[in-house]
Symmetry: C2
């Protein structure tokens, strides 16, 4: 089978990560990446031997001594599928451009409105819906995390209603200009859009949400209250259920992982590229049942990494390259997922979970 | 009636605020305040004409040119009641000291374990329980806020179950050493102690909670999901109910109050002493009902100020100086509470709430 030629339109925080992941897949070829500005990130793309294309005029790149192979039109003409990694809500301005290439399949990111594509995608939850689709939207990092965790819990315990309180990071680590700083800024809306977005993937799941912005760049934090139809007799059943999901990993403050700062440190120490955590992180000792048997969980989500595997699986579904299970295994193996969880970093019997 | 002589043991972030508030009451006299170290805060107490007492040796103060009237024993001997404003969980080490003064009544703060006193106190919710008590614990800022809001909602709509997600401030604004910085640190416990603490005041209220620390010094943020027994037909009923509580105030992002940063700015502009917000702040536009009629609310809580009125009311209850309603009105008037809400700062008909 011919390899699928994948273009990344927008070599930013998501684009560069998805590009690396595409390059690791045996059934895909990275046809090229685009950039709007010829800056250090463009040089990094070239260093990786990625074919670089300009979004605007290629001359601007040449003037700075950075060789672009052409512009975005040239790249799209030689690609089977494009992953739109524009900044949030900017993908819609590319819809007209993509229409000029009738053969092209398109993946949008979760920053776009759900209406941009017929399917909002999460690999574990609705892979099948994306099969042979022309365009798909991979939902945001927060929604991806909620789908993974609630999807698994729903399967095992039948979620009655989930309430999600989201502590969103202010901006990404490579942005020094945007805040917030030293404050808490609630999103003035109930339910916040996150509940609706989960329903764009799992329409039957009962969920409500509140969100706000905190002055951190590292990861998002979620506090979840989850009522289930099936009684949870023992917390170990929840652990087993969620631990069976390779895109979720358990960690503990008793291992010194007291905050998102240590989670990222662990990822760097483990030589994860860019310190990326593709897995949703769950504090095992932050999980519990209240007197009603309702489940409480603390999550942390690496906003730049968590959607990377979903983009890869979306390509496979849309191009009908593999079944859901095959695709997820290929993706997870290529990213070495599941090696950082509580079992893996336990160094001796004396470390308590 | 003779005025009640009130001692403040520990002139720190809470102590200095309660001292000012005591000094404003016609039925109380501030007999003095204690400090462990002769620093700038001690000088500020003297500038206010407060009688200063040392916690340790008074000589240390004299050597620094700061005149102490004596030590804590001298102050307790001439006081009717002491408000223990030690750092969190340090009040218990003063229990033996207070026992040496059989006439003395004692108020502890919420940083102590609930077992330190027979009553955990919130003025609006259980004033009567503190009447004539020898010792009382005024619950923490977070618990005080939850009691005010949930107490009012319970009265009007009968709370079925409340779920509180707390975004706690890392430390106080005058502390430059303690973190956290640039991370999210969940409290690894479900339910967090906050739910239990609310039940120390309102044993019948069904509540569960999760909490974490965010890198901000200004205020705590709460995200609340509240199920009520009585159907809420219109959000305006919730607004009316909560707005009838002078210790709660409504604000809106549409007034430019988008985060805790602007809330504090408003308090400073309004010349509130130390920029204090004694009221629990609620974002009116952050309040809503989901498709089940469940209520969602964003709160912000000034951790240094919100318990000040409760300490004053606790004195009145314990010394039987006034009824609940009389006491709360005297306290609220003296602190000019209720002047900062959405109605008060509306400058023209064109400002949307």
């Amino acid at each position: 089978m011919a390899k699928v030629r994948v273009a990344i339109n927008g070599y930013g925080n998501i684009g560069k990560r998805v590009a690396d992941a595409v390059a690791k897949q045996d059934d895909m070829i990275l046809s090229g990446v685009t950039k709007a500005t010829p800056d250090y990130r463009a040089l990094e793309a070239i260093k990786r031997n990625f074919s670089l294309y300009s979004i605007g005029d290629a001359k601007e790149f040449t003037e700075k001594g950075i060789e672009a192979q052409g512009n975005v039109n040239d790249l799209l003409a030689i690609s089977d599928i494009v992953i739109d990694c524009s900044p949030g809500n900017m993908g819609k301005s590319n819809v007209a451009l993509y229409k000029k290439f009738p053969h092209l399949k398109i993946i949008y990111q979760g920053g776009e409105d759900a209406s941009i594509a017929p399917v909002s995608f999460n690999a574990q939850t609705n892979f099948e819906k994306a099969i042979d689709q022309k365009s798909v939207r991979v939902v945001s990092c927060n929604t991806t995390a909620l789908c993974r965790v609630l999807g698994t819990l729903d399967e095992y315990f039948a979620v009655k209603k989930a309430r999600a309180a989201l502590v969103r990071r202010a901006t990404d680590p490579n942005n020094h200009k945007k805040g917030i700083i030293n404050a808490w800024a609630p999103v003035p809306q109930f339910p916040s859009h996150h509940a609706h977005d989960v329903n764009s993937v799992m329409p039957e799941l009962k969920i409500t949400s509140l969100a706000g912005l905190a002055p951190t760049t590292l990861m998002h934090g979620h506090m979840l209250f989850i009522e289930c139809e099936k009684p949870i007799k023992d917390l170990s059943h929840v652990f087993s259920a969620l631990n069976s999901n390779r895109r979720v990993m358990f960690l503990s403050t008793k291992q010194g992982l007291e905050s998102t700062a240590q989670l990222k440190d662990l990822a760097y120490e483990h030589q994860r590229p860019r310190g990326d955590l593709y897995e949703v992180c769950i504090w095992k000792d932050g999980m519990g049942l209240d007197s009603d048997g309702e489940l409480g969980i603390h999550l942390a989500i690496d906003q730049q990494a968590v959607v990377v595997p979903e983009n890869i699986d979306a390509i496979r579904a849309m191009c009908n390259l593999a079944s859901k299970d095959e695709s997820m295994k290929l993706t997870d193996d290529s990213l070495e997922m599941g090696e950082l969880g509580i079992e893996s970093i336990k160094v001796s019997k004396t470390v308590e979970n």
